[in-house]
Amino acid sequence: MVQVKKNHAFNIKRFLHLLTYLIVSFFALWIVQCEKNATENEEILSIEDLLVDNNEITGWSYDGASWLASNISELTTYINGAAEIYQRHGFVEATHQTYRGKIDNVDRQLKLTIYNQGNENQAKDTYDDPDIGLVGAIDWADGAGLEAHYIRYSGLSQALTFYRGRYFVHLEISYDTEESLNILKQFAWNIDGKIE
């Protein structure tokens, strides 16, 4: 009887060891898998993946090909002297796509440029740089990114910028109405969702 009790106690102890081992192993595997997934996500998510797809926002399709600038020289080729603004805040890479869609039955052009500025501080510095051209812009509270604002040039155009993480995003549209502003915001939400 005593022997039976001893064996039973032994089995419970072994069972607990085994259970602990299994739990620890499970968590270890889970952590490894999470890290692996994170790495894979980073590999998959290139800056070009952040662009809004063709007609992803209904009625707004690609207007020409996108470009990718992987260094300041390439960026200068695309945007000329404006590249210096991004260079002084740690430019890493940028991508651009122009879209075309109708507002008030007329074709309008929307331009999206996403800059990887290396880290969040540099992305914010870029956002705050007056040379970007949004001096006097209206804060977009609870908008996209960590901070966002937009500016309206009466009857002509609008621009909207925001940053999140290492990305600074610049949007502009060749029109100025509530509807065009709404389109800009839709683009901003879309990109911000992908960065998150």
Binding site: T76, T77, I79, N80, G81, I132, G133, V135, L156, A159
Partner: protein
Amino acid sequence: MSFENFLNSIDRRTFLRLATVTGIGSFIYPKNLISHMILAPKSRIVIVEDSAATDGLTIDSAAVQIMVESGIKTLAEWDDIGEAWKLLLSGVDQTSTIAIKVNCINSSMSTHPPVTYAVANSLTRMLFDGVPFPENNIIIFDRTSGELTSAGYTLNTSETGIRCFGTNSSGVGYSTETYDINGRTQTLSKIVTEYCDFLINLSVLKNHGTAGVTLCLKNHYGTCNSPGNLHGDFANPYIPSLNSQDPIVLKQVVNICDALFGIYSGGPSGSPQFTENKIIFSQDIVAVDYIGRSILEDHGCNTINRAGHIDSAATDYQLGTNDPQMMDQITVLNPTTTIRTPGEEDPAITEQFILKQNYPNPFNNRTQIEFYMAKSGPVLMNIYDDRGRQVRKLFNKTVRRGWHRITWDGTNNVGRQVASGLYVTRLRCNDFQKAMIMQLIK
């Protein structure tokens, strides 16, 4: 060395600089080689403004055509657009090639095609033995064909029509000769060095984060092969140095700034931020940029203080003047409401002969007088003082039917400025005669 030998020993560029400084050139240099406008003691700047030019972002090409022709005619002080261009493009003939450098780096705010084509179309109004200047001898160009296309230009490398292509177009490229741009080696577009005899600089009104502004002077960053390394030190003195290179300074005869719209913040990128409805014309590139910079400053541009290259271009490179006292600034307001295209009859006009009140009036140093003729005929216009004495024989020739504009610069028959006071313009045509009172205030 005789004076004639001395003249032969110096190149045209040196002569122009000497003549500008001394003011003697207009008396001694062959008139068919140098336009009298270049030698004028003040730089003439014409600003044409017309509210009919734009509606939102839409540009009225017909209005722009009138604005361009009005600007060129006023700049040359000649009432026929073809003859005005001939005065500005001294020595031009039907075999000449004229290149127009546009700025298309930002497709949302490029030199607008309606302005460029208005300039090109007006060039074809030059007649040589009754034959129009060939369209195919006009080249619209920028750095790349892709940029031109994105900005709305139609590429054309064929042997008919106005040509349009980038320096990167097949078979074009950059010069083999290198140019020292303040220590940076550059090559220039062959369109400037080899293809063209005359160069028209057609810029657009934008600010620039590095160079402060990007107007006519900076427009030639699209003419050299590697502009990226010319942006240090606020692009100064790289910009004036580039503009002082022989192929540019010798061939560039007219500078125009498309200021229909402008960007005052965030440039050179971005979309139009304000409507200005102006086009600026001058043979003095520095003066055009000075005016452009002033417009941007008026709109609150925060990069103006970086645009020192305009002042360097004037003081260190003698490319023009940045002194408003040395500018003869003329504003032409709403030409679409006052000027009709040649041969076009205004249906509202039933009179044979109209003399409009001069503008501005009162005036300080220059005023414009417009008249309408229902049919071609000889016109005589004289100016008299308030005691009836003739002061100036202003105009005496046969004109076509339509509207005409004459400028009086406030001088008498011997070229002296007249005193403040009232003056009478008397216009005679066939059996008709009309008079108008003008007031000169010094």
